[in-house]
Symmetry: D2
Subunit: 385 residues, 4 copies
């Protein structure tokens, strides 16, 4: 067993940013990972002051990520970082990720993995070549109840899957806040920073990933409409798709950022021949299971949710709710356990390996390409995914 | 004011049937309507024994509805029935309805109004000609919370409507119960008795009606897929449609009868520029209203749901839940008040006139035609409704 | 089988009253009962105009209930009323009830049954003497889910009962509305009209009844505090009691009318050795059953709530919610079925006989006496019930 | 600002223990605290192996806490621990806490603070003498929604508080698991290890603390019954108390560990003259606020819960649920911020100082003494607290 924590560097995530703070909370919680360096902002001032607040020595706070990768690579093993966490906007994903891999660092990266599908494929090539590990923070698949749902379906408990509803309603883009100083809104609605999809890239990918993760089934075709419902916005802020799954199941995917008053209401419902299940992230510790011929059950994280995979990803006893940060931390923890096992020359267990990676990233880019292709063209009904 | 109750006859609704009992409960509750005659079954034995259980004199229980309309029409006013309630399967809607109108009787009829759109148009013609009144039991529009939601949107409280989600998941057709002696399943999955749509005719029409009723907006185009997910079933048991509304709003309609474990989960969510609202029939006395910039509210029937239209359709104080039968009864009550007002030579108030009628029936048949046209053809994306 | 409906008279329940309307809705719904006469108000004007609105002939609308009982008693059977529904304030319960019994009429009466325990005992004596039937409208015991809960406990499904929480929070007396023209508040807070208890008489009795009904266990001792939390009110508007049940189980009863913002939140939770159950009237079609060693279940009226007693008291399919009026109607229906069976010379079934009666009424008066005795005396801890 | 993390030692919390893991998760999450030493078990083997898993150097893992305090005290500032986290059973609280204070270490300690009230008073004396800081992990007061509720009441938004319901139902002691190898059950039901109260010491204190914390009011008298409902158990496993608050408000406190099927259902409801609020830890990110004269609101952590104190204690955006660990972490974070501010020679802000401390600990011990005194004596109704 490794006698030290795994050492993390970070690109992005200054004190003025949102998702970086989430990544750090998730990374540190389990006492397996320590942050040893970072380049927290394109603004060196912010990077430095952030590093100080994160208790880093000054010489491990870098002005550019290029500098960071180069200098860290020259440090001895056990001192230099083991992996980098990339928490920048989408258009600054590929370059640091590729450079990290080239310098021998594992990678944790926010989704969507890259700006284009092509970039994602290049990362895969590099990963295959280097044998390094990459984790993609599709957070919702980190919830123990989601993992249990996946397990139940894989076990055949619901019978053959027939119908999937997956939705992600948000309301934070109901007004044109990108013009009102909201930094995140600003880059997320800008095709030069976000990519070819707005809502679908940001949260549609989460919904798509959740559907494929839970059911274990691929979407093979979709029929979609993407909308810009707030006038003069540059990217889609709403959309929906009819789904066809590889086994013949049908589905509906809904993602919107103009559902005024909604927070982060990602929900999935899956129905098979024998029953259905429902999970909702705003009440994430329950899995509602409905049956054709017996009473509805509420499975609870920490008590009646009895799969090994759920237990592996649970930290508190039943009734003491876990949340988003713990789901996020499950990705970091499983990634760290995998990397540490490999560093120890051991085979990671399936539980350790249960985190989204490059294949999920590629799949997400394919989803974006497909839903954008289908979403604006009234003449084409179904597009292959 | 009329010094007697309104007199009802019934076609269908024998003791072996389901929906007839619901109609009677709804009709009698408010002490405004009494049943004076009926033809309760094609089986005269059942019709007779049913009539006896309903405390009817033998001579007012008829063998055929033709006989009923003829004989009742010859009775003096105040003795003969005033209106007929038609609670038969879809393929026995048009004939008795038309005959009732021709004999001067008002009509209450279950949805979908007829077997074909053409029949519905003929009924409208006859109604225009006779000045008689027809009510269509789109039950869900009878709930006070639904009416309040409609009022809020009409008042502009949510701002311009942008997005509508309406869904009706059921699970009762998850197995092929039409082969297992389930009488209702049997006719509902039979195109000769149900019409060209199964799930979409039975509950898709409810979802469509609810969406147009609550928003006050027409769907102008839809993109749909209908599915037969239980092998060898003769009609659709599942489907979904992307919706475009006349004001540019977008929507998703989901209806399925193979969502194993679901009961009658019709739900609508509407989002405008300022906020959204949500109503779910399995908890029908609450209307959840979400706002862009203030806390979510739970409006409650009988207390904080303060519109005149909600109050008019509420019977109990807040916290004493009303349900499906009261919603159903609101249609009967408003219909009865309208007919009685007219019989008294008075103008019915808008509250009285607030029940679904022939226009809703026609609209429903148009929806069926459209969704069936769009639902099976992979080459056509959008169909005008 | 009787070839006519049961004939009801009513005392109280003019168009200016609340609970009378509820009784009529409940009585008429099932098409077994018709109202033939009434004395609807001490104000003859209101009584007359009410009778007209209820479609009664003028000669069956009486100025006093004494007149009503006398005149009705002289009418031939089948024309005269069969039973009277007494829906007046508490202090006008005993006299009309006794007079009805003396004149051979069955009785439905609102709770608490009388003004004093002694009166309740006298009614029992008269009932024993006459063999007539009395129903007491402890509405909450009319819900199918409550009946199913009782059945589960009787079956031993939860094991020995150990703990009971029963609560009835209301908020409508949070302000001193009895001084602001609220007629119901006015009599309910007046000891001359309501009796020795306010909140405990009005809703504490409901909570107590529900606890004993569901568990099948008697409370043998209680320790209580009653409070007047709105200054200068004349009767308790709040109170709580620790309960000891005959089998050694412990409980807590909470009733309050100053829980600002609450509607009619009566809820019961019962825990046995193997599991617990929870029912809440504001979501009355679900029974939540929690287990020591398996997942929580949601039993649903109309689908998974599979006892005969629940089915007998259910009118709609699962997912089409029933509510307060249907629960109320179950008391009327079972009462009517019992009376009609007796009139037919038949033995009523246990399902028919499942409505609250004189024993429940006496028990309620004992509860009031006991909780008032315990509730204001700081020197006495436990009082026998 | 301090240029290093705060350094923690731990007493208890080996890999075989429950609550220690929770403390570590809570401590590390925010990247402000690092663990530098510990004595994790009375079993040196377990202590050593635990220390290794926690990535501690061997020479900082001690065999006894006495050794730890002595040796750490001799290390230079910045190397030695700053504070100790004591996560042992109740009977091993006082000695290590007192010794820590005597050696100049701040203390975080689990509740109840000590075995006896007298010990708690001695700790207070030592704290006053040394000026050191102590945090008591009454976790539930760490939830942002709870803090917001406290703030609303302090602001007078509900008007004068009149009624409080606080309950903590658990089911884990429904069977006699202390005889079946459940280590936690074993010490918690043993008066020699747990103290004079079982259920009331473990979770009754949480309920009492929550009630006083949220309302800002002291309980002045209580009337209680404690029960041993599982035969042959040595300490109370159930109990309830009627409460009188200093301002005249009334309350009910319920705590039970034999509510089969319940998890950690701590809930508080507070009603004032203008409205009421409700918080339930199993859905901790919502605060339901009910009003006498306007619609019920759902305030949400991260969006509509707009107090500074809630914001200070929130880490994720609305709709991304936080849970028990984050509430726990808020105590650690505020404690750490307070200690670091003091070390920096600064005045901690009120937000930093908002964590339970020695006064809460003393109050908890007084509650235990009082409820035990009242709980078994049928001759005494009210006992002063």
């Amino acid at each position: 067993m490794m006698n030290r924590k795994l050492r993390m560097g970070m690109v992005g995530g200054g004190t003025d940013a949102f998702i970086g703070a989430i990544h750090r909370l998730a990374a540190f919680m389990d006492n397996q990972i320590e942050m040893v360096c970072g380049c927290f902002s394109v603004n060196p001032e912010i990077s430095r002051s952030s590093g100080k607040l994160y208790y880093l020595p000054e010489n491990r706070v870098y002005e550019t990520y290029q500098e960071m990768f180069e200098k860290e690579a020259q440090l001895p093993e056990g001192e230099r970082m083991d992996f980098v966490s990339i928490v920048t906007p989408n258009f600054v994903h590929f370059d640091p990720a590729m450079m990290a891999l080239e310098n021998g660092f594992h990678v944790v990266i926010d989704k969507p993995i890259t700006f284009t599908l092509d970039e994602a494929l290049k990362l895969k090539e590099k990963l295959d070549e280097t044998g390094l590990t990459l984790a993609l923070t599709h957070t919702y698949s980190g919830y123990p109840a989601v993992k249990h749902a996946k397990q139940m379906i894989a076990n055949g408990e619901l019978g053959k899957v027939r119908k999937v509803f997956v939705e992600y309603p948000q309301g934070w883009l109901s007004a044109k806040v990108e013009d009102q100083g909201n930094a995140q809104a600003s880059w997320r609605t800008d095709p030069k920073k976000s990519g070819k999809a707005g809502c679908m890239g940001d949260i549609g990918t989460h919904a798509h990933h959740l559907a494929e993760y839970v059911t274990g089934l691929r979407v093979t075709e979709l029929c979609a409409e993407l909308n810009i419902l707030v006038p003069n916005r540059m990217l889609d802020d709403d959309g929906a798709a009819l789904l066809r799954f590889e086994n013949g199941a049908r589905g509906v995917l809904m993602a919107t950022q103009i559902a005024a008053g909604e927070e982060n209401g990602i929900k999935i419902r899956v129905y098979g021949e024998k029953g259905g299940l429902e999970w909702y992230q705003q009440e994430p510790n329950s899995l509602i299971v409905k049956w054709l011929d017996k009473p509805t059950q509420i499975l609870r994280v920490g008590t009646s949710m009895n799969s090994a995979i759920a237990a592996h990803n649970t930290r508190t006893p039943g009734g003491h709710p876990e949340g988003y940060l713990e789901a996020f931390a499950n990705i970091y923890r499983n990634f760290a356990m995998t990397v540490m096992a490999k560093m120890d020359g051991k085979e990671p267990t399936p539980e350790m390996l249960d985190f989204p990676g490059i294949e999920d990233g590629i799949r997400g880019m394919q989803f974006i390409d497909t839903v954008v292709k289908a979403g604006y063209d009234d003449s084409i009904k179904w597009v292959t995914l």
